[in-house]
Symmetry: C2
Subunit: 469 residues, 2 copies
Amino acid sequence: MSLHRQLAQDIASQIEGGVLRAGEKLPSVRALQRQRGVSQATVLQAYYQLEHRGLIESRPRSGYYVSTRWQQLPREPRPSQPSGRSTPVKVSELVFDILERTRHRSLLPLGSAFPSPLLFPHKALGTALARAARTLDPWASVADLPPGSWDLRRQIARRYLGAGVRVDVDDLIITNGAMEALNLSLQAVTRPGDVVVIESPAFYAALQTIERLGLRAVEVATDPRDGLDLDALRQALDKHPVRACWLMTTFQNPLGALMPEPQKKALVALLAAREIPLIEDDVYAELYYGDRAPRPAKAWDRDGGVLHCGSFSKSLAPGYRVGWVAAGRYTRQVTQLKISTSLATSIPAQEALATYLSGAGYEAHLRKLRRALQQQQQAMRAAVAEHFPRGTRISHPAGGYFLWVELPRGSDTLALQRRAFEQGIGLSPGPMFSALGRYRTALRLNCGHPWSAELAAGIATLGRLATKG
Amino acid sequence: MSLHRQLAQDIASQIEGGVLRAGEKLPSVRALQRQRGVSQATVLQAYYQLEHRGLIESRPRSGYYVSTRWQQLPREPRPSQPSGRSTPVKVSELVFDILERTRHRSLLPLGSAFPSPLLFPHKALGTALARAARTLDPWASVADLPPGSWDLRRQIARRYLGAGVRVDVDDLIITNGAMEALNLSLQAVTRPGDVVVIESPAFYAALQTIERLGLRAVEVATDPRDGLDLDALRQALDKHPVRACWLMTTFQNPLGALMPEPQKKALVALLAAREIPLIEDDVYAELYYGDRAPRPAKAWDRDGGVLHCGSFSKSLAPGYRVGWVAAGRYTRQVTQLKISTSLATSIPAQEALATYLSGAGYEAHLRKLRRALQQQQQAMRAAVAEHFPRGTRISHPAGGYFLWVELPRGSDTLALQRRAFEQGIGLSPGPMFSALGRYRTALRLNCGHPWSAELAAGIATLGRLATKG
């Protein structure tokens, strides 16, 4: 863990443990510098973090104080501390069982992986698709074979440029959603038995892919706010013959963590120095609540070692199954794999998206979508804070539509999931997100659906079940 | 090789070698029975085969005679005789190189894997797609997750029933084209290092998939007319720990071979007895020239060991990328793999096809398509027979849109492919279709495009190049 995070963590523990009381003044920056033998910047960063988490507040010309309201705020989960071992993965059966149970439309979609389909511009997309259907060049079925529709790739490259990332049209391969992009990317850079670094907790699809390809996973400590711990990563790289990293640097699933840009930059440098490819799963890139798009790690990629995977499934067109990968120096391998895995991606869907993106509606839609997701998150956090047992911790992501909730010690979210299912409520229990079956007290909640009385009642029920359990 | 095939082969050699002359009478059925010590049925089957190939003809109340016209007919390729070894596969680079070179639209599409896009009902499909776009239920993006659209699966199950095959809606999984169906099927039944039986020559995608999954291939002798040799298969199964067979039982790519139904039935029985799954690649099922659809091996599947893979890409909607697998007892595994590989298949494309298939146009389109393909095949066979060097053999498939052409000994179709490319002509050289780099004198020609002066000129040029080479 970096110094400033360690420092912030220590102070947070003192506050949460009652050593520092609400309203109490914290040591001055200079005093803390001396006390800890660290730089001013380190102290400032630690205080900034604590302020951001709502644990402390600065009073002009007076200094930092323990917030008087912090106990009313739901606390955030602590950074994870996985074992650091490299292990085979066997999670598919569990994940599949739960996915099968949670897809019923009658179920309250708190366990779903998707935002509400009602948040997307179906009418405008339908118009674009109908137009594509009418005007589709029959020869497109040959011309748009991998790497895919040139028009669509051009639109995607344009969006990269807008986000401050240089990606060539020729480095882009259109795929059947990001899921295929990630799969092909991992296949392109590994052989069975290889070791892959993932976050802890990790997106279960990464675990499933690692399992299917016969790879080994190393879970690396991850902060619910700032994402992967680079010191822990460095240790993992020193200890294991790591062949690739599969990371979600922006609004990580399930934590919602967003790696700060300096950390993304450092991550790319660290991996480039060791020639380890980074598979960057960036499907939530567009779902930020702040003023500007967080840049992906790909922005600092100089030697093509970052395979950046994106998709329209979470931001524009769920069900169209159009994703892509900017595969850097692995473009040829990934294209080959794409051809021999599924040949092309549905041509009408590609053309429809190219048409839609050439119009002006996307930005307006995204602004609306982001606002909706942020409001939904607020409502759900408040409801969880109100109804869940004392000691529950809730993540506070700056984008996306997931909450990571840690119940008090001794809780069992696998059992909770079964009881909730009987009440018509879905949820994703923590062990879905770990190669080692960890996170038994945690769960992921979906806040991608418009807040409603049903959701409120569902959270209240869940809270009751969690308290009893 | 079965007895009747062996007998037919012997007689064919005598005719082609000049031992039996044009117009000469063949031994009576009874005489041949005694001579060879075989049953009457064996002799009749052999004579039937030879007659079908145009080598002999029956004269009423007189017996069988060597055809007077057989020398004018292009001869057909002989059954393949692969080594029977099990080998790792390394063909992807070659295949990828050639595919990349042959996809340019300016190239004469003799090397293409696709029929002309102009043969498909784009307008009617466009209407169906536009309608799907207008009426798409936003929730379909969740509801149509694997196994896929219920409406579409129902339409597919209905078509199976019409073809005399019982397949449950619940056994069907919609995929991104047959390519993904085949990939997932092979993954579901093998682990790296396993041995897989394929035909010889084999479809290169089978080779690529075997290579990518780290499997070993055994090429089994295949007859250009009747497909896989069951005796050779039996020997391979005795010799190798075979984990799966990947076969094209109907209009095999590249030979065009069609396994007779009794052989399909025997194939299923043979594999079922050894509990070896059959992955049946049946993407050309609808492209028969005869009066009725040949049934797939799946028709005789009693214990769910046949994973039958189909697609609309060759018969209706190229570029939509909608295929399926009827996965029998592997349905659960394949569904899991589908979810973790690419999640869903494009929903608008699924809905559009379901809509189109619920209408009345498909049969009429298919009749037109089949007629067109048969005429194109005739024209191309005649042109090849006219322009290619003496001794060239040409397959004579009863469906599909490929010709397999064997040039005289010493020819090199890899070199021919390069020279043809310089003249703006594509072709698929034989070594693309072998794990062992065999078939260097053979090539696959695409006759899926409306016959034209350009195609005629292209065949003439190819013939010149092949004669010089």
